[in-house]
């Protein structure tokens, strides 16, 4: 874990790391990765990954509309919106 890696993953995470905290974060992440590296020693050949304890595929249901249209309620709690849309800073000049 070095400065360059942390810069890359913070961008992937859309997070900005304050200069003063950078050193501590690099150290913390390094320790955490070193800690989880002990998994390397485990023999997992021919072991299927377990993604979910239920291991069931997604269920299907009857194709009926059950959701209510919450458009107004949802637009109302947005930081910025007009009658129909969420508003963000201009993307295309």
């Amino acid at each position: 874990m070095d400065k360059k890696t942390v810069t890359t993953i913070s961008y992937l995470s859309r997070l900005k790391i304050d200069g003063e905290k950078e050193e501590k974060i690099i150290k913390d992440l390094d320790n955490i990765i070193e800690f989880v590296d002990q998994l390397d020693d485990v023999d997992t050949s021919n072991i299927e990954p377990l993604t979910n304890p239920l291991e069931k595929t997604a269920k299907t249901r009857t194709d009926e509309v059950t959701a209510k249209n919450l458009k107004n309620e949802l637009l109302e709690i947005a930081p910025s919106s007009n009658e129909d849309y969420f508003l963000v800073p201009r993307v295309v000049e």
């Binding site: 859309r14 997070l15 800690f35 390397d40 485990v42 963000v88 800073p89 993307v91």
Partner: protein, 483 residues
């Protein structure tokens, strides 16, 4: 009449005997909250609605199972019209337009949602020190943490403010604070309770559950919290038993698994003594101790710290300042809006976990970390599957010790992560597990963990209830043994 330190069962009886009115109960709860402000157990109160609901209940005599019972709700559950923050600055102003299924279920059963309890930010923490709204205090001692992440819920029950609360548990967030605050708390089987409307942290591990003074009250709560929910694709459609039915079953001949691989040498002698004393108690009720092997148990913490951050980094990508929650001011473009909003909105621990998640999921590292951890996760689950062929439950201490002091874990995050050493494996395997008080060390409570087989909450509750019938630890309060 007072409801302080009373159980759900006792309050129900007080209401039905007309010893107290619903309005008096709610008024007393808010008086207790006020007297215990220093605990910082609540983020948002729901006083006006609660008084109204109590007034309606007083005019009708309701037979609903939780009619008039004041319950505190963890601030991770969406509550329609009531601010829901997840203890994060990024949701500081979020008022959901709908309620979580579990909240609807509890309210349909007649309960009064008193307020929203403080917690670690996005449920990431084991001491309630990561909340944007400040630490919660453990009523057992001024400087003590209540545990986390459901620390506000545990603290409110331990202080006798409410008889019960909702909690959520991703790696121990119900059981660890239950242990540190001297109350009972159950994490059900993954899929037992709908996750719809629960703000997601790690979707394959998160599960809601009841927190209360007694195992019996947890059963009463669990009966109402469970339901099959089409809105959650991982919600189980299995039969939901009445969890009160088997509470009094005899333990004669039942088998308790004792984990041989568990290294208790790092624990204080007092903690080991408390644990061993409670095993003796079960033996005297006719249960048998069986040695079992869980050879991969020690890998549960590192496995968790790959799986949980990976899922968290994905789940928390929805907080971008566009559709809801807090947005940073005057971003110059969309990219800056995302970055500034998230950087200002999340606290350090949440950021750390998102970064770890992005790292283990990134190209080139996915197989080495994420896939590897999921393979080890299967090994851990296989260990439990084998063990449960021979035993009814597995018992361990819930925590490495009683409540610790705020700030005492220092600045190394791994020291805090190891708090969940005994609890995490149940989440990885999806199994139900509970913590019940089983002793006091230096006037601080500590808990016993009972892990059950898949969908076997009833057996756990049976063991816990029978233990509470012959012991008194669940009646200890910071002010002495309750009557």
């Amino acid at each position: 009449m007072t409801i302080k330190y009373k159980t759900i069962k006792e309050i129900k009886s007080m209401i039905s005997q007309n010893e107290i009115s619903n309005i008096e109960i709610v008024q007393e709860v808010y008086k207790l909250i006020d007297e215990n402000k220093h605990l910082n157990a609540f983020i948002t109160l729901n006083e006006e609605n609660s008084l109204k609901k109590a007034e309606v209940l007083d005019k009708s005599s309701s037979n609903l199972p939780l009619a008039g019972i004041p319950i505190a709700q963890k601030d991770l559950f969406c509550t329609k019209g009531i601010r829901t923050t997840c203890a994060s600055n990024i949701l500081n102003n979020f008022i959901p337009p709908y309620s979580a299924t579990v909240i609807e279920n509890l309210e349909k059963a007649g309960c009064i949602s008193i307020g929203k309890t403080n917690m670690d930010e996005f449920a990431m923490g084991s001491s309630n020190e990561t909340s944007f709204f400040g630490n919660v205090q453990n009523p057992w001692g001024q400087k003590l943490v209540p545990g986390g992440s459901s620390g506000g819920s545990a603290s409110a029950i331990a202080a006798g403010i409410v008889p019960a609360a909702s909690g959520t548990d991703t790696g121990g967030s119900i059981r660890q604070p239950a242990s540190l605050c001297g109350i009972s708390g159950l994490k059900p089987t993954y899929g037992r309770i709908s996750r719809w409307g629960m703000i997601a942290f790690a979707s394959s591990l998160d599960q809601a559950g009841p927190m209360a003074r007694t195992a019996e009250d947890c059963a009463i709560m669990l009966n109402e919290m469970c339901s099959h929910d089409e809105k959650d694709t991982t919600s189980l459609n299995d039969k939901i038993p009445n969890f009160e039915d088997n509470l009094n079953n005899s333990l004669n001949g039942k088998k308790i698994g004792i984990v041989k691989d568990l290294d208790l040498s790092s624990l204080d002698n007092d903690v080991v003594a408390v644990y061993e004393n409670s095993l003796k108690e079960f033996v005297s009720m006719g249960a048998e101790l069986i040695n079992i092997n869980l050879p991969n148990l020690s890998l549960s913490v590192p496995t968790y710290y790959v799986v949980a951050p990976a899922e968290c980094s994905s789940n928390l990508s929805r907080f971008d300042g566009v559709k809801f929650g807090r947005r940073s001011e005057n971003p110059k473009d969309l990219e800056e809006l995302y970055i500034q909003t998230r950087s200002e909105g999340f606290g350090d621990e949440v950021k750390r976990r998102i970064l770890i998640g992005s790292y283990v999921l990134s190209a080139g590292y996915y197989d080495a970390y994420y896939k590897k951890a999921q393979q080890v996760r299967r090994l851990i689950k296989n260990d439990f599957d084998s063990a449960f062929k021979n035993v009814d439950v597995i018992m361990t201490p819930t925590t490495r010790g009683p409540a610790f002091e705020m700030g005492s874990k220092g600045s190394d995050p791994i020291q805090m992560y190891l708090e969940d050493l005994f609890t995490i494996s149940a989440n990885l395997a999806g199994l139900p597990a509970m913590s019940i008080p089983n002793g006091n060390i230096d006037n601080k409570p500590i808990g016993l963990q009972i892990i059950g087989d898949f969908l076997n909450e009833s057996t756990i509750l049976n063991f816990a209830h029978m233990y509470q019938k012959v012991t008194n630890w669940h009646n200890y309060t910071p002010e002495g043994v309750r009557q």
